[in-house]
């Protein structure tokens, strides 16, 4: 772990990204301490500019506190980003492992399915899925996971294909281990690094998709989110620019930080790549 941190530390922008990400997590974790009230609650005079009427970042047309919305929205973004990525990675690993390990018709079937999912315009598909299932945290997580798993499946399949004929796997066969034990216990741990890297980058994409869905009015109606704030403020662009501006900056900074962390992980986990510029 310490050796890993030493490698990671060499990439300055990755350390910066990690610091920002930790800050976002801190904001999400303390949202209920600093802003104990419901972020949908009318907190004061409507359309107050930043700094006025006790609003740090202003208020919107209904007098909701933008800063409170951003703090509570951080929770939503991180939660949905992490959950959706988790579901997508588990699905992708399962599909990719089966396809790569067994080959033959299993591989054909699973890879054709993956191809089909990769052909479909993913954001339009996500919109459709959420619209059909009715907007809620579960439906958003499912929709994002459904459009994200194919990339993982392809990656894991490739890794399994190259690892399954190695000596250590053959040794496991000779020892009489079952297929699933070999797949999960022996091969999978050997391809964790690329899965971790792709997973970390997927969290960023998931947050972007979630904000896009919420912007279009497909967010969970009971939960504050950054995309919802921007969508609600777009009609006020002329009179209250701050309603849209600050939640957007929050998305930008969070996604940027996650991308930097992902690249840092990539450099630290694949030391061979680091020599390349």
């Amino acid at each position: 772990m310490l050796a890993f941190w030493k490698l990671y530390r060499r990439n300055l922008s990755a350390v910066l990204g990690l610091a920002i990400l930790l800050l976002v997590f801190a904001v999400a974790a303390t949202a209920h301490l600093f802003f104990p009230d419901d972020p949908f609650r009318l907190a004061g005079k409507s359309m107050s500019p930043p700094g006025a009427a006790g609003f740090l970042l202003g208020s919107d047309s209904l007098g909701r506190d933008i800063a409170a919305g951003i703090a509570h929205g951080a929770k939503t973004s991180l939660l949905i980003g992490l959950l959706a990525t988790f579901v997508a990675v588990v699905t992708g690993v399962l599909m990719g492992a089966l396809a790569g390990y067994y080959g033959g018709w299993v591989d054909d079937l699973l890879m054709r399915t993956t191809e089909m999912f990769q052909t479909i315009p993913s954001f339009v598909f996500a919109i459709l899925l959420v619209a059909i299932m009715k907007p809620s945290i579960e439906s958003i997580v499912i929709a994002i996971a459904v459009v994200s798993w194919p990339a993982v499946a392809r990656l894991v399949r490739g890794e399994f294909l190259s690892l399954k004929n190695r000596e250590f796997v053959q040794a496991c066969h000779t020892l009489g281990m079952g297929d699933f034990r070999i797949m999960l216990g022996e091969i999978l741990p050997n391809c964790l690094s690329p899965i971790i890297v792709i997973g970390s980058l997927m969290v960023a994409t998931a947050i972007l998709i979630e904000s896009g869905l919420a912007f279009l009015g497909l967010g969970d109606p009971n939960i504050m989110s950054w995309g919802f704030q921007i969508g609600a403020g777009r009609t006020l662009l002329r009179s209250a620019w701050w309603v849209c501006t600050f939640p957007g900056i929050a998305i930008l900074i969070t996604v940027l930080a996650i991308n930097l962390v992902g690249e840092g992980l990539n450099d630290a986990l694949n030391p061979r790549l680091r020599e390349r510029t």
Binding site: R112, E115, M116, Q118, T119, I120, P121, S122, F123, V124, F125, A126, I127, L128, L129, A131, I132, M133, K134, A204, L208, S211, G212, F215, L216, G217, L218, G227, I230, G231, R234, L237, R238, W241, C244, T245, G248, I251, L252, V255, L256, N259, L260, T277
Partner: protein
């Protein structure tokens, strides 16, 4: 076998490979329609305000909705095969007519976006790769990193604040100034004026993608043997970079442009709804608000077919550019 028949064979083979994907997409579309709460008759009855159960049963029989699922699926496939994408009860028009009506606006936006994104992406990637590890490279990389992380709808709104509301350079929304009754050349200029902000917004994300890809591709090509040969021949560095390396480095960028069409359609839903650009994306946004699932599914099906078609065309063009592909 001569070259020509081999090419025809390749094209036919690729066409055949696309058939199962298209079929699978249509079948999936059918099941998504089944998943949705309520059927077309419920919607109709809701619109009418009141409908007797007998009348609803009669309507279901008329549309074939009382048939078992496999029969309905065959019916659906038949409809799609005759280009019948269903009926939008909100617009009281066939989905196909609505979609075709909006098709041109989206294609216009997508083509201008691809041109801008690929053009500038190649340029920026080239600038970054030729000035490796200088301030120029760093600045371009930071720019790409930031645009890659920015939500499209937010960029669009910020551009409206700055360039439409504050500076007044560009219109905030729409595709043309209908009240002005422009004709001929004036109309083209008017549409181009409206096109600027949506195109910039939609291209930003892909610009970042192509910049990074072009930079990486240039660096990879610069390490190849033929570059050493060119250098040994005594060619100038400038000539090596711009004539030899650039040409080869462009290939992956062209492929990527084809692969990204699906993502571009998703992006255009957002950009069109920000700028009220009257294309397919805006139509999808309206369908979403009106809970018009028939229309939404029609748009989805058409955009998926569009992606399959574009990938096919790109593959065929690509095999012409790079004859090695046919061999495999």
């Amino acid at each position: 076998m001569d070259h020509f028949t081999r090419r025809i064979r390749y094209v036919l083979k690729r066409l055949l490979q696309a058939v199962p994907i298209v079929l699978a997409i249509i079948v999936m579309n059918f099941f998504l329609l089944q998943l949705a709460e309520g059927d077309a008759v419920d919607v109709l009855a809701g619109e009418a305000g009141s409908a007797t159960p007998e009348y609803m049963a009669e309507l279901r029989a008329k549309f074939g909705l009382d048939q078992p699922l496999p029969v309905q699926l065959v019916l659906y496939l038949k409809n799609i095969a005759s280009f019948d994408l269903g009926y939008s009860f909100r617009h009281e028009m066939p989905v196909l007519d609505l979609v075709l009506d909006r098709f041109f606006a989206t294609v216009l936006l997508m083509v201008s976006t691809i041109l801008l994104a690929v053009g500038f992406g190649v340029l920026l990637g080239l600038l970054a790769a030729t000035g490796l590890n200088t301030w120029r490279d760093t600045a371009i990389s930071i720019f790409a990193l930031i645009t890659y992380a920015t939500p499209l709808f937010w960029v669009g709104l910020m551009l409206i604040v700055v360039f439409s509301l504050t500076l007044g350079w560009f219109p905030t929304s729409g595709m043309e100034n209908i009240a002005a009754f422009h004709e001929g050349w004036d109309r083209v200029v008017d549409i181009a004026h409206h096109l600027v902000l949506p195109t910039i917004t939609l291209s930003l994300f892909y610009l970042a993608l192509y910049t990074r890809l072009m930079r990486a591709s240039m660096l990879e090509q610069a390490g190849q043997d033929y570059v050493t040969t060119a250098r040994a021949k005594g060619l100038t560095e400038r000539r090596i970079m711009f004539v030899h390396v650039l040409r080869n480095a462009l290939l992956p960028v062209v492929t990527m442009a084809g692969v990204q069409v699906g993502a571009l359609i998703g992006g255009s839903v957002i950009v069109e709804s920000v700028f009220a650009w009257p294309g397919l994306g805006m139509l999808a946004f309206e369908a979403l608000f009106a809970r018009d699932l028939n229309l939404l599914l029609g748009i989805f099906l058409l955009s998926a077919l569009l992606v399959v078609a574009v990938n096919l065309v790109v593959d065929i063009i690509y095999s012409t550019l790079d004859p090695r592909i046919e061999v495999s």
